[in-house]
Protein backbone atom coordinates (compact mmCIF):
# COMPACT_ATOMS: atom_id res chain seq x y z
CA UNK A 1 0.00 0.00 0.00
CA UNK A 2 2.65 2.48 1.03
CA UNK A 3 4.91 1.32 -1.76
CA UNK A 4 2.03 1.82 -4.16
CA UNK A 5 1.43 5.31 -2.84
CA UNK A 6 5.08 6.12 -3.23
CA UNK A 7 5.05 4.90 -6.82
CA UNK A 8 2.07 7.09 -7.60
CA UNK A 9 4.02 10.03 -6.25
CA UNK A 10 6.18 9.83 -9.33
CA UNK A 11 3.16 10.45 -11.52
CA UNK A 12 3.69 14.11 -10.64
CA UNK A 13 5.89 15.55 -13.40
CA UNK A 14 8.18 17.40 -10.97
CA UNK A 15 8.98 14.27 -8.94
CA UNK A 16 9.34 12.18 -12.07
CA UNK A 17 11.75 14.77 -13.42
CA UNK A 18 13.90 14.58 -10.30
CA UNK A 19 13.82 10.78 -10.18
CA UNK A 20 14.76 10.32 -13.84
CA UNK A 21 17.47 12.94 -13.48
CA UNK A 22 19.06 10.77 -10.80
CA UNK A 23 18.55 7.52 -12.70
CA UNK A 24 19.59 8.58 -16.19
CA UNK A 25 23.38 8.80 -15.65
CA UNK A 26 23.42 5.35 -14.04
CA UNK A 27 21.38 3.94 -16.89
CA UNK A 28 23.85 5.37 -19.39
CA UNK A 29 26.74 3.78 -17.48
CA UNK A 30 24.86 0.48 -17.43
CA UNK A 31 24.15 0.76 -21.15
CA UNK A 32 27.79 1.39 -21.96
CA UNK A 33 29.06 -1.43 -19.73
CA UNK A 34 26.57 -4.01 -20.99
CA UNK A 35 27.14 -3.00 -24.61
CA UNK A 36 30.92 -3.35 -24.33
CA UNK A 37 30.66 -6.74 -22.63
CA UNK A 38 27.93 -8.01 -24.96
CA UNK A 39 29.63 -6.82 -28.13
CA UNK A 40 32.97 -8.26 -27.01
CA UNK A 41 31.35 -11.61 -26.31
CA UNK A 42 29.42 -11.54 -29.53
CA UNK A 43 32.26 -10.54 -31.81
CA UNK A 44 35.29 -12.18 -30.18
CA UNK A 45 34.25 -14.90 -27.74
CA UNK A 46 31.30 -16.52 -29.55
CA UNK A 47 32.41 -19.24 -31.97
CA UNK A 48 32.17 -18.91 -35.75
CA UNK A 49 28.98 -20.41 -37.11
CA UNK A 50 29.47 -23.65 -39.06
CA UNK A 51 27.20 -22.72 -41.97
CA UNK A 52 27.10 -18.92 -41.95
CA UNK A 53 30.64 -18.02 -40.97
CA UNK A 54 31.05 -14.66 -39.31
CA UNK A 55 28.06 -13.09 -41.04
CA UNK A 56 25.70 -14.44 -38.41
CA UNK A 57 27.20 -12.12 -35.77
CA UNK A 58 24.75 -9.40 -36.75
CA UNK A 59 22.21 -11.50 -34.83
CA UNK A 60 23.53 -10.00 -31.60
CA UNK A 61 22.13 -6.64 -32.61
CA UNK A 62 19.33 -7.77 -34.88
CA UNK A 63 17.40 -9.99 -32.48
CA UNK A 64 17.46 -7.67 -29.44
CA UNK A 65 16.46 -4.75 -31.67
CA UNK A 66 13.52 -6.71 -33.04
CA UNK A 67 12.43 -7.64 -29.53
CA UNK A 68 12.67 -4.04 -28.37
CA UNK A 69 10.70 -2.80 -31.36
CA UNK A 70 7.72 -4.91 -30.32
CA UNK A 71 8.01 -4.39 -26.58
CA UNK A 72 8.27 -0.63 -26.98
CA UNK A 73 5.14 -0.49 -29.15
CA UNK A 74 3.14 -2.29 -26.50
CA UNK A 75 4.63 -0.07 -23.78
CA UNK A 76 3.77 3.01 -25.82
CA UNK A 77 0.18 1.86 -26.40
CA UNK A 78 -0.14 0.95 -22.72
CA UNK A 79 1.05 4.31 -21.38
CA UNK A 80 -0.88 6.22 -24.01
CA UNK A 81 -4.06 4.37 -23.03
CA UNK A 82 -3.39 4.98 -19.32
CA UNK A 83 -2.79 8.64 -20.01
CA UNK A 84 -6.01 8.90 -22.00
CA UNK A 85 -8.22 6.88 -19.65
CA UNK A 86 -7.03 8.41 -16.36
CA UNK A 87 -6.01 11.84 -17.66
CA UNK A 88 -2.51 11.07 -16.37
CA UNK A 89 -0.23 13.66 -17.94
CA UNK A 90 2.97 11.82 -17.13
CA UNK A 91 1.81 8.60 -18.82
CA UNK A 92 0.97 10.50 -22.01
CA UNK A 93 4.35 12.17 -22.02
CA UNK A 94 6.01 8.79 -21.54
CA UNK A 95 4.13 7.39 -24.51
CA UNK A 96 5.29 10.31 -26.64
CA UNK A 97 8.87 9.74 -25.54
CA UNK A 98 8.76 6.01 -26.31
CA UNK A 99 7.72 6.34 -29.94
CA UNK A 100 10.96 7.58 -31.55
CA UNK A 101 13.05 4.95 -29.76
CA UNK A 102 10.67 2.21 -30.82
CA UNK A 103 10.74 3.40 -34.41
CA UNK A 104 14.54 3.55 -34.26
CA UNK A 105 14.77 -0.06 -33.04
CA UNK A 106 12.34 -1.19 -35.72
CA UNK A 107 14.49 0.48 -38.33
CA UNK A 108 17.65 -1.06 -36.85
CA UNK A 109 16.03 -4.50 -36.89
CA UNK A 110 15.10 -4.08 -40.56
CA UNK A 111 18.49 -2.66 -41.50
CA UNK A 112 20.53 -5.35 -39.74
CA UNK A 113 18.12 -7.92 -41.13
CA UNK A 114 18.96 -6.71 -44.63
CA UNK A 115 22.68 -6.88 -43.86
CA UNK A 116 22.21 -10.40 -42.59
CA UNK A 117 19.93 -11.43 -45.43
CA UNK A 118 22.44 -10.60 -48.15
CA UNK A 119 25.05 -13.24 -47.16
CA UNK A 120 22.54 -15.71 -45.72
CA UNK A 121 19.76 -15.68 -48.33
CA UNK A 122 21.49 -13.84 -51.19
CA UNK A 123 19.02 -10.92 -51.09
CA UNK A 124 18.79 -7.70 -49.11
CA UNK A 125 15.10 -8.15 -48.71
CA UNK A 126 12.62 -10.99 -49.07
CA UNK A 127 8.89 -10.66 -48.52
CA UNK A 128 8.99 -13.02 -45.62
CA UNK A 129 6.12 -12.82 -43.14
CA UNK A 130 8.28 -11.60 -40.29
CA UNK A 131 10.09 -8.99 -42.36
CA UNK A 132 6.84 -7.70 -43.77
CA UNK A 133 5.12 -7.42 -40.41
CA UNK A 134 8.18 -5.65 -38.98
CA UNK A 135 7.95 -3.19 -41.87
CA UNK A 136 4.27 -2.63 -41.12
CA UNK A 137 5.20 -2.06 -37.48
CA UNK A 138 7.54 0.70 -38.65
CA UNK A 139 4.63 2.25 -40.57
CA UNK A 140 2.49 2.12 -37.42
CA UNK A 141 5.21 3.94 -35.48
CA UNK A 142 5.61 6.53 -38.21
CA UNK A 143 1.85 7.05 -38.34
CA UNK A 144 1.72 7.62 -34.60
CA UNK A 145 4.66 10.04 -34.61
CA UNK A 146 3.32 11.93 -37.61
CA UNK A 147 -0.17 12.26 -36.12
CA UNK A 148 1.08 13.38 -32.74
CA UNK A 149 3.49 15.90 -34.24
CA UNK A 150 0.87 17.31 -36.60
CA UNK A 151 -1.50 18.33 -33.78
CA UNK A 152 -0.43 21.45 -31.96
CA UNK A 153 -2.61 21.13 -28.89
CA UNK A 154 -0.76 18.64 -26.64
CA UNK A 155 -3.92 17.32 -24.99
CA UNK A 156 -5.60 16.55 -28.26
CA UNK A 157 -2.36 15.13 -29.67
CA UNK A 158 -1.98 12.79 -26.70
CA UNK A 159 -5.55 11.55 -26.92
CA UNK A 160 -5.52 11.09 -30.68
CA UNK A 161 -2.18 9.30 -30.43
CA UNK A 162 -3.54 7.07 -27.68
CA UNK A 163 -6.54 6.09 -29.76
CA UNK A 164 -4.35 5.35 -32.78
CA UNK A 165 -1.78 3.32 -30.83
CA UNK A 166 -4.50 1.25 -29.15
CA UNK A 167 -6.17 0.57 -32.50
CA UNK A 168 -2.75 -0.37 -33.85
CA UNK A 169 -2.04 -2.69 -30.92
CA UNK A 170 -5.38 -4.44 -31.44
CA UNK A 171 -4.57 -4.81 -35.12
CA UNK A 172 -1.04 -6.13 -34.75
CA UNK A 173 -2.07 -9.79 -34.32
CA UNK A 174 -4.50 -9.51 -37.25
CA UNK A 175 -1.82 -7.97 -39.43
CA UNK A 176 0.76 -10.51 -38.37
CA UNK A 177 -1.40 -13.53 -39.07
CA UNK A 178 -2.74 -12.22 -42.36
CA UNK A 179 0.79 -11.48 -43.54
CA UNK A 180 1.87 -14.97 -42.55
CA UNK A 181 -1.07 -16.43 -44.37
CA UNK A 182 -0.36 -14.33 -47.44
CA UNK A 183 3.25 -15.45 -47.42
CA UNK A 184 2.48 -19.15 -47.22
CA UNK A 185 -0.08 -18.66 -49.93
CA UNK A 186 2.32 -17.11 -52.42
CA UNK A 187 5.43 -19.15 -51.87
CA UNK A 188 6.65 -22.08 -49.87
CA UNK A 189 8.71 -21.50 -46.77
CA UNK A 190 12.02 -20.74 -48.44
CA UNK A 191 13.64 -19.60 -45.25
CA UNK A 192 13.13 -21.25 -41.95
CA UNK A 193 15.04 -19.63 -39.18
CA UNK A 194 13.59 -22.02 -36.64
CA UNK A 195 15.40 -24.92 -38.30
CA UNK A 196 18.78 -23.33 -37.62
CA UNK A 197 21.19 -25.45 -35.58
CA UNK A 198 21.03 -25.04 -31.86
CA UNK A 199 22.71 -21.97 -30.55
CA UNK A 200 25.95 -22.17 -28.59
CA UNK A 201 25.70 -21.07 -24.97
CA UNK A 202 28.08 -18.13 -25.44
CA UNK A 203 25.99 -16.89 -28.35
CA UNK A 204 22.86 -16.93 -26.24
CA UNK A 205 24.62 -15.20 -23.34
CA UNK A 206 25.96 -12.47 -25.60
CA UNK A 207 22.52 -11.95 -27.07
CA UNK A 208 20.89 -11.70 -23.67
CA UNK A 209 23.51 -9.25 -22.42
CA UNK A 210 22.95 -7.05 -25.45
CA UNK A 211 19.20 -7.30 -24.90
CA UNK A 212 19.72 -5.96 -21.41
CA UNK A 213 21.95 -3.24 -22.85
CA UNK A 214 19.15 -2.25 -25.24
CA UNK A 215 16.69 -2.20 -22.35
CA UNK A 216 18.99 0.06 -20.37
CA UNK A 217 19.48 2.26 -23.42
CA UNK A 218 15.72 2.48 -23.97
CA UNK A 219 15.14 3.52 -20.38
CA UNK A 220 17.96 6.05 -20.47
CA UNK A 221 17.05 7.69 -23.74
CA UNK A 222 13.31 7.67 -23.03
CA UNK A 223 13.96 9.29 -19.65
CA UNK A 224 16.09 11.97 -21.29
CA UNK A 225 13.40 12.64 -23.86
CA UNK A 226 10.59 12.63 -21.33
CA UNK A 227 12.53 15.13 -19.19
CA UNK A 228 12.68 17.47 -22.16
CA UNK A 229 8.94 17.02 -22.75
CA UNK A 230 8.18 17.65 -19.07
CA UNK A 231 10.20 20.87 -19.05
CA UNK A 232 8.51 22.05 -22.23
CA UNK A 233 4.98 21.33 -21.08
CA UNK A 234 5.41 22.46 -17.48
CA UNK A 235 7.22 25.65 -18.40
CA UNK A 236 4.48 27.78 -16.85
CA UNK A 237 4.81 26.10 -13.43
CA UNK A 238 6.70 27.38 -10.42
CA UNK A 239 9.02 24.42 -10.06
CA UNK A 240 10.34 24.78 -13.60
CA UNK A 241 10.87 28.47 -12.97
CA UNK A 242 12.84 27.58 -9.81
CA UNK A 243 14.83 25.07 -11.81
CA UNK A 244 15.72 27.61 -14.45
CA UNK A 245 16.65 30.16 -11.83
CA UNK A 246 18.92 27.62 -10.18
CA UNK A 247 20.71 27.29 -13.50
CA UNK A 248 19.64 23.73 -14.09
CA UNK A 249 17.61 23.70 -17.31
CA UNK A 250 16.61 20.72 -19.43
CA UNK A 251 20.19 20.14 -20.40
CA UNK A 252 21.37 19.50 -16.84
Amino acid sequence: MTAGMRLFNFAAPSRFYTLTGTLAPWLWVLTAALSVVGLYMGFFVAPVDATQGNAYRIIFIHVPAAWMSMVLYLAMAFWAAIGWAFRARMASMLARALAPTGAMFTFVALWTGALWGKPAWGAWWVWDARLTSELILLFLYLGYIALVEAIDDPRRADQAGALLSVVGAVNIPVIYFSVRWWNTLHQGATISMTAAPKMAATMLTAMLILTLAFWAYSFAVVFMRVRAIVIERERHTAWVADLVRAGKGAGA
Partner: protein, 222 residues
Protein backbone atom coordinates in the same frame (compact mmCIF):
# COMPACT_ATOMS: atom_id res chain seq x y z
CA UNK B 1 -30.32 6.94 -32.25
CA UNK B 2 -31.95 5.39 -35.30
CA UNK B 3 -33.54 8.69 -36.25
CA UNK B 4 -30.20 10.47 -36.04
CA UNK B 5 -28.54 7.70 -38.05
CA UNK B 6 -31.12 7.93 -40.81
CA UNK B 7 -31.15 11.71 -40.80
CA UNK B 8 -27.38 11.97 -41.20
CA UNK B 9 -27.36 9.21 -43.81
CA UNK B 10 -30.10 10.80 -45.91
CA UNK B 11 -28.51 14.22 -45.60
CA UNK B 12 -25.13 12.94 -46.82
CA UNK B 13 -26.72 11.06 -49.70
CA UNK B 14 -28.68 14.16 -50.68
CA UNK B 15 -25.54 16.27 -50.54
CA UNK B 16 -23.73 13.74 -52.72
CA UNK B 17 -26.62 13.75 -55.19
CA UNK B 18 -26.36 17.54 -55.51
CA UNK B 19 -22.63 17.35 -56.25
CA UNK B 20 -22.50 14.46 -58.66
CA UNK B 21 -19.11 15.28 -60.15
CA UNK B 22 -17.53 15.22 -56.68
CA UNK B 23 -18.99 11.81 -56.07
CA UNK B 24 -17.68 10.52 -59.37
CA UNK B 25 -14.11 11.72 -58.91
CA UNK B 26 -12.92 8.70 -56.86
CA UNK B 27 -14.29 6.42 -59.56
CA UNK B 28 -12.41 8.33 -62.24
CA UNK B 29 -9.27 8.21 -60.14
CA UNK B 30 -9.72 4.46 -59.75
CA UNK B 31 -10.03 3.82 -63.48
CA UNK B 32 -7.18 6.16 -64.42
CA UNK B 33 -4.85 4.74 -61.77
CA UNK B 34 -5.61 1.16 -62.83
CA UNK B 35 -4.96 1.93 -66.47
CA UNK B 36 -1.54 3.37 -65.62
CA UNK B 37 -0.21 -0.07 -64.68
CA UNK B 38 -0.21 -1.70 -68.12
CA UNK B 39 1.69 1.34 -69.39
CA UNK B 40 4.25 0.95 -66.63
CA UNK B 41 4.51 -2.83 -66.48
CA UNK B 42 4.16 -3.67 -70.17
CA UNK B 43 1.33 -5.12 -72.25
CA UNK B 44 2.01 -8.88 -71.80
CA UNK B 45 -1.41 -10.43 -71.04
CA UNK B 46 0.11 -13.16 -68.88
CA UNK B 47 1.81 -10.71 -66.51
CA UNK B 48 -1.19 -8.40 -66.44
CA UNK B 49 -3.59 -11.19 -65.61
CA UNK B 50 -1.30 -12.23 -62.80
CA UNK B 51 -1.03 -8.80 -61.18
CA UNK B 52 -4.57 -7.59 -61.95
CA UNK B 53 -6.17 -8.49 -58.58
CA UNK B 54 -3.47 -6.66 -56.66
CA UNK B 55 -3.68 -3.61 -58.90
CA UNK B 56 -7.45 -3.35 -58.71
CA UNK B 57 -7.38 -3.76 -54.93
CA UNK B 58 -4.58 -1.27 -54.34
CA UNK B 59 -6.28 1.31 -56.54
CA UNK B 60 -9.61 0.75 -54.78
CA UNK B 61 -7.81 1.24 -51.47
CA UNK B 62 -6.19 4.48 -52.62
CA UNK B 63 -9.42 5.77 -54.17
CA UNK B 64 -11.19 5.17 -50.85
CA UNK B 65 -8.44 6.94 -48.91
CA UNK B 66 -8.69 9.97 -51.18
CA UNK B 67 -12.47 10.15 -51.07
CA UNK B 68 -12.73 9.66 -47.31
CA UNK B 69 -10.58 12.69 -46.54
CA UNK B 70 -13.44 15.16 -46.67
CA UNK B 71 -15.91 12.98 -44.82
CA UNK B 72 -16.00 15.27 -41.79
CA UNK B 73 -14.12 18.34 -43.01
CA UNK B 74 -17.15 20.12 -44.50
CA UNK B 75 -19.29 19.51 -41.44
CA UNK B 76 -16.56 20.74 -39.18
CA UNK B 77 -16.02 23.88 -41.23
CA UNK B 78 -19.68 24.97 -41.05
CA UNK B 79 -20.11 23.89 -37.43
CA UNK B 80 -22.72 21.23 -38.07
CA UNK B 81 -20.43 18.48 -36.80
CA UNK B 82 -20.28 20.14 -33.42
CA UNK B 83 -24.06 20.40 -33.34
CA UNK B 84 -24.40 16.73 -34.27
CA UNK B 85 -22.08 15.75 -31.42
CA UNK B 86 -24.02 17.94 -29.00
CA UNK B 87 -27.17 15.94 -29.73
CA UNK B 88 -28.28 13.66 -26.88
CA UNK B 89 -27.95 10.59 -29.15
CA UNK B 90 -24.56 8.85 -29.08
CA UNK B 91 -21.90 9.95 -31.55
CA UNK B 92 -21.64 6.36 -32.77
CA UNK B 93 -24.80 7.00 -34.78
CA UNK B 94 -23.14 9.89 -36.59
CA UNK B 95 -19.96 7.91 -37.22
CA UNK B 96 -21.83 4.88 -38.59
CA UNK B 97 -24.15 6.96 -40.74
CA UNK B 98 -21.21 8.84 -42.22
CA UNK B 99 -19.41 5.60 -43.06
CA UNK B 100 -22.48 3.99 -44.60
CA UNK B 101 -23.09 7.11 -46.68
CA UNK B 102 -19.46 7.14 -47.78
CA UNK B 103 -19.66 3.52 -48.83
CA UNK B 104 -22.92 4.01 -50.73
CA UNK B 105 -21.54 7.02 -52.56
CA UNK B 106 -17.93 5.94 -53.13
CA UNK B 107 -17.72 2.20 -52.52
CA UNK B 108 -20.54 1.08 -54.82
CA UNK B 109 -19.21 2.71 -58.00
CA UNK B 110 -15.86 0.99 -57.46
CA UNK B 111 -17.55 -2.40 -57.13
CA UNK B 112 -19.57 -1.79 -60.29
CA UNK B 113 -16.52 -0.61 -62.22
CA UNK B 114 -14.20 -3.38 -61.01
CA UNK B 115 -15.44 -6.10 -63.42
CA UNK B 116 -15.07 -3.72 -66.38
CA UNK B 117 -11.53 -2.94 -65.28
CA UNK B 118 -10.90 -6.64 -64.75
CA UNK B 119 -11.92 -7.35 -68.32
CA UNK B 120 -9.19 -4.96 -69.47
CA UNK B 121 -6.76 -7.27 -67.70
CA UNK B 122 -8.26 -10.38 -69.27
CA UNK B 123 -9.51 -11.88 -66.01
CA UNK B 124 -11.75 -14.95 -66.36
CA UNK B 125 -15.43 -14.82 -65.38
CA UNK B 126 -14.99 -16.71 -62.07
CA UNK B 127 -12.08 -14.43 -61.17
CA UNK B 128 -14.24 -11.36 -61.91
CA UNK B 129 -16.93 -12.82 -59.67
CA UNK B 130 -14.51 -13.29 -56.80
CA UNK B 131 -13.19 -9.76 -57.33
CA UNK B 132 -16.71 -8.36 -56.95
CA UNK B 133 -17.53 -10.49 -53.91
CA UNK B 134 -14.23 -9.55 -52.30
CA UNK B 135 -14.84 -5.85 -52.93
CA UNK B 136 -18.39 -6.15 -51.60
CA UNK B 137 -16.99 -7.48 -48.33
CA UNK B 138 -13.83 -5.40 -48.27
CA UNK B 139 -14.78 -1.86 -49.32
CA UNK B 140 -17.06 -1.33 -46.28
CA UNK B 141 -14.04 -2.13 -44.10
CA UNK B 142 -12.04 0.46 -46.00
CA UNK B 143 -14.80 3.05 -45.51
CA UNK B 144 -14.94 2.28 -41.79
CA UNK B 145 -11.18 2.49 -41.30
CA UNK B 146 -11.00 5.56 -43.49
CA UNK B 147 -13.72 7.20 -41.39
CA UNK B 148 -11.62 6.59 -38.29
CA UNK B 149 -8.58 8.11 -39.99
CA UNK B 150 -10.61 11.10 -41.17
CA UNK B 151 -11.92 11.71 -37.66
CA UNK B 152 -8.43 11.50 -36.16
CA UNK B 153 -6.87 13.85 -38.70
CA UNK B 154 -9.73 16.34 -38.68
CA UNK B 155 -8.39 19.85 -39.19
CA UNK B 156 -4.77 18.72 -38.84
CA UNK B 157 -1.91 20.07 -40.93
CA UNK B 158 -1.37 17.95 -44.09
CA UNK B 159 -4.19 15.74 -42.90
CA UNK B 160 -4.57 14.01 -46.25
CA UNK B 161 -1.14 12.39 -46.33
CA UNK B 162 -1.40 11.69 -42.63
CA UNK B 163 -4.68 9.85 -43.08
CA UNK B 164 -3.14 7.62 -45.71
CA UNK B 165 -0.11 6.90 -43.53
CA UNK B 166 -2.33 6.03 -40.58
CA UNK B 167 -4.93 3.90 -42.32
CA UNK B 168 -2.89 1.93 -44.88
CA UNK B 169 -1.11 -0.31 -42.34
CA UNK B 170 -4.48 -1.11 -40.75
CA UNK B 171 -6.02 -1.89 -44.14
CA UNK B 172 -3.36 -4.37 -45.21
CA UNK B 173 -5.25 -7.51 -44.12
CA UNK B 174 -8.18 -6.49 -46.34
CA UNK B 175 -5.84 -6.08 -49.27
CA UNK B 176 -4.22 -9.46 -48.63
CA UNK B 177 -7.46 -11.41 -48.44
CA UNK B 178 -9.26 -9.46 -51.15
CA UNK B 179 -6.52 -9.86 -53.73
CA UNK B 180 -5.83 -13.36 -52.40
CA UNK B 181 -9.40 -14.46 -53.17
CA UNK B 182 -8.99 -13.60 -56.86
CA UNK B 183 -5.57 -15.25 -56.92
CA UNK B 184 -7.03 -18.42 -55.39
CA UNK B 185 -9.82 -18.59 -57.99
CA UNK B 186 -7.33 -17.94 -60.80
CA UNK B 187 -5.22 -20.89 -59.66
CA UNK B 188 -8.26 -23.14 -59.46
CA UNK B 189 -8.77 -23.18 -55.70
CA UNK B 190 -11.76 -22.25 -53.61
CA UNK B 191 -11.88 -18.70 -52.30
CA UNK B 192 -14.29 -19.57 -49.48
CA UNK B 193 -11.60 -19.12 -46.83
CA UNK B 194 -10.78 -15.66 -48.10
CA UNK B 195 -14.44 -14.64 -48.07
CA UNK B 196 -14.83 -15.93 -44.53
CA UNK B 197 -11.82 -13.94 -43.33
CA UNK B 198 -13.00 -10.81 -45.16
CA UNK B 199 -16.40 -11.28 -43.55
CA UNK B 200 -14.77 -11.65 -40.16
CA UNK B 201 -12.77 -8.47 -40.73
CA UNK B 202 -15.96 -6.69 -41.79
CA UNK B 203 -17.84 -7.76 -38.67
CA UNK B 204 -14.97 -6.89 -36.33
CA UNK B 205 -14.43 -3.50 -37.98
CA UNK B 206 -18.13 -2.72 -38.07
CA UNK B 207 -18.33 -3.36 -34.34
CA UNK B 208 -15.15 -1.53 -33.37
CA UNK B 209 -14.50 1.25 -35.84
CA UNK B 210 -17.65 3.37 -35.24
CA UNK B 211 -16.91 3.44 -31.51
CA UNK B 212 -13.31 4.45 -32.14
CA UNK B 213 -14.46 7.00 -34.70
CA UNK B 214 -16.92 8.50 -32.22
CA UNK B 215 -14.13 8.79 -29.65
CA UNK B 216 -11.86 10.34 -32.27
CA UNK B 217 -14.54 12.89 -33.19
CA UNK B 218 -14.87 13.91 -29.56
CA UNK B 219 -11.11 14.27 -29.28
CA UNK B 220 -10.88 16.30 -32.47
CA UNK B 221 -13.71 18.69 -31.70
CA UNK B 222 -12.96 19.24 -28.03
Amino acid sequence: MRALFLAVLMRDLRLAARRRIDALLPLVFFVVAVSLFPLGVGPEPQTLRHIAPGIVWVCALLATMLSVQHLYAGDQADGSLEQLLLAPQPAVAVASAKCVAHWLVNGWPLIVAAPLVGVLFDLSAPALGSLVIGLLLGTPVLSLLGGLGAALTLGVRSGGMLLILIVLPLAMPVLIFGAGAVGAVESGQSAAGHYSLLGALLIATALGAPLATAAALRISTE
